[in-house]
Amino acid sequence: MSNKFLCLALTVVLASSGLAAEPERSVIQIMTFSQQPVWDAPWRFDPVRRSSGSGFVIKGKRIMTNAHVVSWAKQILVHRYQDPRPYLARVKFIAHDCDLALLEVEDESFFSGLEPLKFGDLPKVRSTVVTHGYPAGGEQISYTRGVVSRIELQNYVHSGNRSFLTVQTDAAINPGNSGGPVVQDDLVVGVAFQGMPGLENTGFFIPPPVIHHFLKDIEDGFYGGFPMAGIRVVPLQNPAYRRYLRLPDNDLGARVDSLLPIAATEKLIQLDDVLLRVGKYEVASDGTVLYEGNRVSASAAFQTAQRGESLSLKVWRQGKETDISLPMNVYEGDRSVGNQYDVLPRYFVYAGLVFTPLSLDYMKTLGQGWRDVANAELIYELYYRRSEAQDSTRTEPVVLASTLAHSVNANFKISNHALVDKIDGVRIDKLEDVVRAFESTTNTHHVIEFVPNHAFETLNRVDAEAAQAEVLKTYGVPKDRRL
């Protein structure tokens, strides 16, 4: 009898560990129906797009996946392993900077019998990992085994302008794998998320340090994002430069070459400061830190901080070491040069002229080769002016995105996609200025000036005001503005 009990208990234990040993049971297929806004006709949406991705159950009855799997979602359906029934899910938290999201399922019975997967540590280079997911090419779950090839900071293409710790593997990561767990010894050591065009047998996954940062960030019920120090560090390996800074001739210390306009950083950090230590990480002369055995960019050390925390730095300044406690906050100043989500684009339509803020998303409406065809002024304004000529930087540069043809604007010769300089003498610093300029003037004509060369167009004000309602109706624009 007692032997029988022991045996039963063992069976239960086995069964329990059997769940853990079958992580595929907790791997979820995600079907997303999404609709993105049209950035040069911002009141419209692209056709509904159906896409699939993967996810996995973690503790708290939540599904972890990639942000890009569920961005702009109108409806999300999730499927359990070998269960035909779709369940309705919704986004609980989404982190576009690090491409992670957590979903909730409306019907909590979805989670019954599913064991949440647990996270492991950053895997070692050369160790073996297995990706689980629902890639394109079939309906059933797929497993691919690979080796961890390298660990370093890589650009996260979902946001487009943020780099975080990334693990490269030769396990195939294909469309549909996104959001699926990468498993080692039954523990999740990453979330599959992107490949690289032109590189075969190369996939990338988001490692535990980034995942844990995300999970900790949302503990207050809100995702704020990775903070940024705004310090551009460059290697300091030239002996003359080291002597100039009276720095010992060793392998420590990288130089601060420029700063982003972040008040705390500009107050506490100086150009030519030499970063010796960030948090617990020593900074080498090539601008790297040794992060769990991997030599990676010192940015990884800054990314250990949560927003609102302070990071202890040791810098070399004017011939001696100085300790600094640097407040770390989220930087929004470069939002327009990254891919934007969640917030619908702002616009104002007046007499058929569609004005919208300049952004990368807007530029992409010019097509895949937009860099080749775009007005150089727009590229300069978007990418260079902010860092080169802060005095003339606009808070939110505005473009004439398109023209809805009407007799009132039919003789316009200015091409669309032009950067707006002034309207009726008002310098356009942000979209609200466009509205204010048009709505406040009593002149006979509106004068719209563009960059460069002071090219301008004119509208008869009375005719323009009279045409407004007709233009909106003709082109199905529900409202003349979204501010």
Binding site: Q237, R243, Y244, S387, F456, N460
Partner: protein
């Protein structure tokens, strides 16, 4: 006698069968063209702006036309940095030593001559047509493998645009032809006359310098009036939006274009002002698209009036609408070669400028440097450098010097990935020209040279050891086989 008549008739038939072929065509045979068309062989140095100390040798064979006593007309393309020029007649036989009598690169015209009397024997001058008629049958001729090749071309249109390498704008003839590999001054002929010289080809489209334009320059050269091509340095926009003309209170019919940008010359009062309506140039009415009606060509862009029998320094009489009334002003044509550009053409007949400092290579930013990115250079060159072309020079930044590359040496360790950085200051001295850089390097700061670059996403500061700089530079020159550490041709500013 009968046979001879029949023979002549056959020739007439062959050459006179095309539509619209003038009666003069019958008088000219290929044999005539063989005595008018010569080959011009040019050996020249070609510089690689990525390695400005290197010279490649290039040989081009162009077409030339006898136009007068001891004068062979050709385009100026390919004549710069020449080391040897020779002429050949009849498409074969000996080459005769020659020299360039004059070359005008903005106009893309040159006259070549030879002192060898024997060369001129048997040659006959060609006639340049005036004007060019759209309806004429046009052919392109050139020497090919010792024979005269004659290929048909069709009139496409007259355009007004920048030719190669210049701010000057003038009328051009655009032809369509199946001929390949032209653009080296091959004559376009109609009947017995030359209607132009082909100076570039893109697919089937040929760009041709029309004969009237060529004649005007040759005549001015002969009379000693020629002062180089001028250009309009103001910017205008079409006035096809009638509301714009209403806003500017133009009275009468809609006409003219609107001046929107006038260069700030600081030392002179500008003749034109932004928002002037330009109504007439030298008595030619300007329409709202910016065209005027040319007696020889029909509708042409008004820019052609800056080079239509006018030269740099000549006055142009402009009628503008300003302050509610028409006003006459006199505008002096600035010289195209002197156009103030932040990114200029490198001067012709001059080797590229550079300075090597401890392996760091500095160069002035010129269009020639940007063209090193190949035919598609406007897209392929680094955006930030190419963007300077759209910016005007200012007293603070009249020109741009870049750190173009670093030739690796232990001395410049840590900077070896740096390239295409725009230099701001060296040892606290503003650097606009290479001469500024050289002066600044004479005054190191506490034993160091401190180089600062434009703010942006790239490296902003480099520090070099002053004491070992000369030795490092010498070592780099030796290691990379470079003769001179610097070439600075333009006068110190």
């Amino acid at each position: 006698m009968n046979v001879r008549f029949i023979h002549c008739f056959a020739v007439l038939l062959l050459f006179g069968s095309g539509p619209g072929f003038g009666s003069e065509a019958a008088k000219k045979t290929p044999g005539d063209w063989e005595r008018e068309l010569v080959s011009v062989e040019v050996h020249r140095k070609q510089y690689d702006y990525f390695q400005p100390w290197t010279k490649h040798v290039q040989t081009v064979v162009k077409a030339g036309l006898l136009i007068g006593p001891r004068e062979i007309l050709t385009t100026a393309d390919g004549l710069d940095n020449r080391t040897l020029v020779r002429l050949q007649k009849g498409g074969r036989g000996p080459w005769w030593s020659a020299g360039v009598k004059w070359a005008d690169y903005p106009a893309n015209l040159a006259v070549v001559t030879s002192t060898d009397e024997k060369f001129w024997a048997g040659l006959k001058p060609a006639t340049l047509a005036e004007p060019v008629k759209k309806e004429e049958e046009i052919q392109i001729i050139r020497w090919r493998a010792g024979n005269l090749e004659v290929r048909k071309a069709e009139f496409s249109r007259f355009t007004v645009s920048h030719p190669n390498m210049s701010d000057a704008v003038h009328v051009q003839l655009e032809l369509s032809s199946e001929i390949d590999g032209v653009g080296w001054s091959e004559p376009a002929i109609a009947g017995s006359k030359v209607v132009g010289l082909v100076f570039s080809q893109s697919g089937n489209q040929l760009q041709v310098l029309p004969s009237p334009f060529i004649r005007s320059i040759l005549d001015a050269q002969k009379k000693g009036h020629y002062k180089g091509l001028g250009y309009f340095d103001f910017t205008w926009q079409p006035a096809e939006n009638p509301e714009t003309l209403d806003y500017l209170k133009l009275e009468g019919e809609k006409r003219g274009v609107v001046v929107i940008d006038v260069p700030d010359k600081r030392d002179t009062n500008p003749v034109l002002k932004p928002r002037d309506i330009l109504l007439q140039v030298d008595g030619f009415d300007v329409d709202t698209q910016g065209d005027y009606v040319d007696a020889g060509y029909g509708h042409l862009l008004l820019e052609n009036l800056s080079t239509r029998n006018k030269w740099a320094g000549d006055p142009a009489r402009l009628k503008v609408w300003r302050d509610g009334r028409a006003q006459d002003v006199v505008y002096r044509l600035p010289k195209a070669e002197d156009a103030a550009r932040l990114v200029p053409e490198a001067p012709f007949e001059q080797e590229p400028e550079y300075v090597i400092v401890g392996g760091l290579v500095f160069q002035p930013l010129t269009k020639n440097y940007l063209r090193s990115w190949g035919q598609d250079w406007e897209r392929r060159a680094p955006f930030r450098l190419a963007y300077f072309r759209s910016q005007d020079p200012t007293p603070e930044r009249p020109a741009v010097v870049i750190l173009s590359q670093v030739l690796p040496d232990f001395y410049n360790l840590g900077y070896q990935e740096s390239r295409q950085l725009v230099v701001e200051k060296v040892n606290a001295r503003k650097v606009n020209y290479l001469s500024d850089l050289q002066q600044a390097l004479k005054k190191p700061v506490n034993g160091f040279h401190i180089l600062e670059f434009t703010k942006g996403e790239t490296l902003q500061k480099i520090v070099l050891d002053a004491a070992t700089l000369d030795a490092a530079t010498k070592r780099v020159l030796d290691r990379y086989g470079i003769d001179k550490e610097s070439v600075i041709v333009s006068p110190a500013k």
